[in-house]
Symmetry: C2
Subunit: 167 residues, 2 copies
């Protein structure tokens, strides 16, 4: 089963390696990972999407909670949640395909980041399904490069605030 784990950590050197190490020690592959700042510059939030059996994951979560620099661990996928990701995609274009491609990007809700004579970069935000649709639609034009952020997620229920947690 796929799980989406949200981990609040102190923003310090080595924390990421320790967290990643716990997953790799049990041969859990991380499908997607996003690490970014929060509203507090000393705290980062990691969003980790993993597949694997629930019992092993429970053990990993227990070990995560024991790490000094981990503030809070939450399996967001246990409740209804929103998940989003961002993709930059460079696609080849020529005089013929140009108009068609720009129209397609508009229909998909993608932004044009850059456009040259022979290639263009588009930006698309959305859920996994939207990303897959975009990749499928762009394939015939020739995909040159793809870079994706990994998923971030927020529970549909209100969370205790970071301020509350730190007090």
């Amino acid at each position: 089963m796929t799980h989406t784990i949200s981990v609040l950590v102190e923003n310090k050197a080595g924390v990421l390696a320790r967290v990643a190490g716990l997953f790799s020690a049990r041969a859990f592959n991380i499908d997607s990972l996003a690490v970014g700042e929060t509203e507090d510059p000393t705290v980062s939030r990691m969003t980790i999407v993993v597949r694997g059996d629930d019992r092993t994951l429970e053990q990993i979560i227990k070990q995560l909670n024991r790490l000094v620099d981990v503030i809070r661990v939450r399996d967001i996928s246990k409740e209804p949640f929103f998940d989003r990701q961002l993709m930059l995609i460079r696609v080849g274009l020529d005089g013929k395909s140009r108009e068609k491609l720009l129209k397609l990007a508009q229909d998909l809700g993608a932004q044009v980041v850059d456009a040259h004579q022979d290639n263009a970069i588009f930006e698309l935000a959305g859920d996994q399904k939207k990303m897959d649709g975009m990749l499928e639609a762009m394939k015939p034009f020739g995909i040159r490069e793809v870079v994706r952020t990994g998923r971030i997620a927020l529970s549909q229920k209100t969370e205790v605030t970071l301020k509350d947690l730190k007090e």
Copy 2:
């Protein structure tokens, strides 16, 4: 100096921990990290933003290149590049602030993901400056939760394709 490193890796368990370990072994703090699929499901791309001295980073890049599952390492920030990130932000609202907040989100180019009686989730894609502006503008309304993807980046110059690299 801040560097943005793009690393193509085989999508296997343990790769992330090994890459993160190289940075933490030299006490390099990772400011932002994004790991996502590419157009090839067996290959992931990591975008790593780090601050630190150029010489140590050069050594880390050499060591990265020596890891078995690393396909290619590139310091994107050596050339002009585009960088983007995605943020989900939950903000408190009430009868009074509702209209003002929704108008502000629209002006900032944010999407409404969810809106309840007392809180709303917005989605914003853009560069670091745009994120900072959003956080600043939302602060008076009461920020409940923030989750960010970390940055992804593409060089303004065309890159060799993954297909070329693997052949």
